[in-house]
């Protein structure tokens, strides 16, 4: 049985949203429109109105393309929505639908689209700078647009899976509106997440489901030229362990030993600056000045700022080492995605095995 009230509610939403786009030129409203068309389609199919569901499917597809940035919002979209609204009403009244009927209403001239920067309206200077920097180093810039209902508390909002995904896939640059404005905003609203990532649209689509707009695609990184020798750094404050590793690693490349995190980070940055980056850092977690987790984050930040892509060959391999029995710490450190870990006392064969595999990838001959 057709629940006419339910359909009428959805039609009212549809009319309100299409008029709002026409009035404001704000195509973010297409997300609301898509959802209403989607609900109408599934309701029509559930009510056995298969012909109507087919028409709605066409409109849903068109709206999906607009919300994903694959097609612009045009007068034709407006007419398509208007035609479908009439078709639904005809079905509700039991009239025979006229699929080829011309658009029965006139529309005002669409307002010009709002002026926005290449990256999106209303970005703070620091956010724009982050966009320009990411663009300059060849990272992709993307925007996820996601429909929200008001009412999520700040903690929930900031811990949503979309935030976790962005953290794993790249760097969040801005959220519009920020939580404070979202909390004061309308009952339903579109929130935009702007982020940079070295990954392609296809790679991101494996994980993300919401509409993803490509503002600029990542540029492929040139493969690193093969080197004559590996550059290896050991950051270890215990002299016995440090020297032992240093002497063994010297047999496999240019090895340096640093006893503090600050010294290690300075050398690491100098390597990048001079065009002779380190290939491997063996990192103790408990150092007198900095924690190993902090050093690893700094290393990845530094690489990110220079556009060294996570999947590229140029990224430095970082192996952390920690004490046996400190498994909680190890689990925490693994969140920073090191390339491997060793448990003290160090199994030198394991370490040499890791160095040998790196050597095969990066060293000539």
């Amino acid at each position: 049985m057709v629940d006419a009230g339910h359909f009428e509610d959805l039609l009212e939403h549809l009319e309100r949203d299409v008029l709002a786009i026409d009035r404001t030129g704000d195509t973010a409203i297409v997300h609301l429109l898509f959802r209403t068309v989607h609900n109408l389609k599934s309701s029509a199919a559930q009510a056995g109105l298969s012909g109507l569901a087919g028409e709605l499917h066409g409109l849903e597809d068109a709206m999906d393309r607009v919300r994903r940035g694959k097609a612009p919002w045009t007068t034709g979209c407006y007419d398509q929505v208007a035609r479908v609204i009439d078709l639904v009403r005809q079905n509700l009244r039991g009239d025979r639908p006229e699929p080829e009927a011309p658009a029965p209403r006139t529309r005002a001239e669409a307002a010009p689209p709002p002026v926005s920067s290449r990256w999106g309206a209303g970005l703070a200077a620091a956010e724009l700078a982050a966009c320009d920097l990411a663009d300059a180093v060849g990272l992709g810039l993307y925007r996820i647009e996601k429909l929200f209902r008001r009412g999520l508390d700040r903690e929930t909002f900031l811990a949503l899976p979309v935030m976790e995904d962005i953290r794993e896939l790249g760097k969040l640059i801005a959220i519009q509106p920020a939580w404070e404005a979202y909390d004061q905003g309308p009952e339903e609203q579109v929130v935009k997440f702007l982020f940079a990532s070295p990954r392609t649209e296809e790679e991101l689509a494996q994980v993300l489901f919401d509409p993803l707009l490509v503002l600029s695609a990542p540029r492929p990184q040139p493969a690193a030229p093969p080197k004559a020798r590996l550059r290896i750094m050991t950051i270890e404050d215990d002299p016995t362990t440090g020297l032992l590793m240093h002497y063994i690693l010297k047999l496999h490349g240019d090895s340096v030993l640093c006893q503090t995190g600050a010294e290690g980070l300075a050398l690491f940055r100098a390597g990048l600056e001079d065009g002779d980056p380190f290939d491997l850092v063996v990192l103790d977690l408990l150092l007198p000045d900095l924690h190993g987790d902090e050093i690893l984050r700094e290393i990845r930040e530094e690489e990110f700022r220079r556009g060294i892509h996570a999947s590229g060959r140029q990224r430095c391999s970082v192996i952390i080492n920690t004490s046996r029995g400190d498994l909680d710490q190890l689990m925490e450190s693994l969140k920073n995605e090191p390339d491997g870990y060793l448990i003290k006392p160090i199994d030198m064969e394991l370490l040499v095995g890791k160095v040998a595999s790196l050597k095969r990838d990066r060293v000539t001959g």
Binding site: S43, L147, R149, F209
Partner: protein, 122 residues
């Protein structure tokens, strides 16, 4: 009296959640309805559901995000989750399977589809 088995339905359209509530009640389930993934996940943490249905297109947290988050909870690692969608798309079905869905049901619902699902669940 034996306690009823609990099922969770996550769908923002009351039209659909009402159908599932009705159908599952006739099968002897006690049904809880959530209207998005955030609510669904909160309900799943509080209760112990033996069967979960989730729509895909939802505000706040979509069905795929909900499925991934739910499957990370040890209590739900082997709980059957049925994804619901109007989209009869192989890519989406594959994605749902990858993230641990037990079944992908294309709307509209019908008793035949539900019977087929319950035969698979046995």
């Amino acid at each position: 009296m034996a306690e009823k088995v609990k099922a969770l339905v996550v769908d923002d359209t009351s039209f659909h959640s009402s159908f599932l509530r009705m159908y599952l009640s006739t099968k002897g389930y006690e049904v809880t309805v959530a209207t998005d993934g955030v609510e669904g996940l909160a309900a799943a943490r509080k209760d112990d559901f033996k069967l979960v249905f989730s729509d895909i297109e939802m505000p706040n947290m979509n069905g795929i995000e909900f499925l991934r988050s739910l499957k990370r909870l040890p209590a739900y690692a082997s709980t059957p989750v049925v994804m619901l969608s109007t989209l009869d798309d192989e890519g989406m079905k594959q994605k749902a399977r990858t993230f641990g869905a037990f079944h992908y049901m294309v709307k509209p619902f019908s008793s035949a589809k539900m019977d087929e699902l319950f035969a698979k669940l046995k």
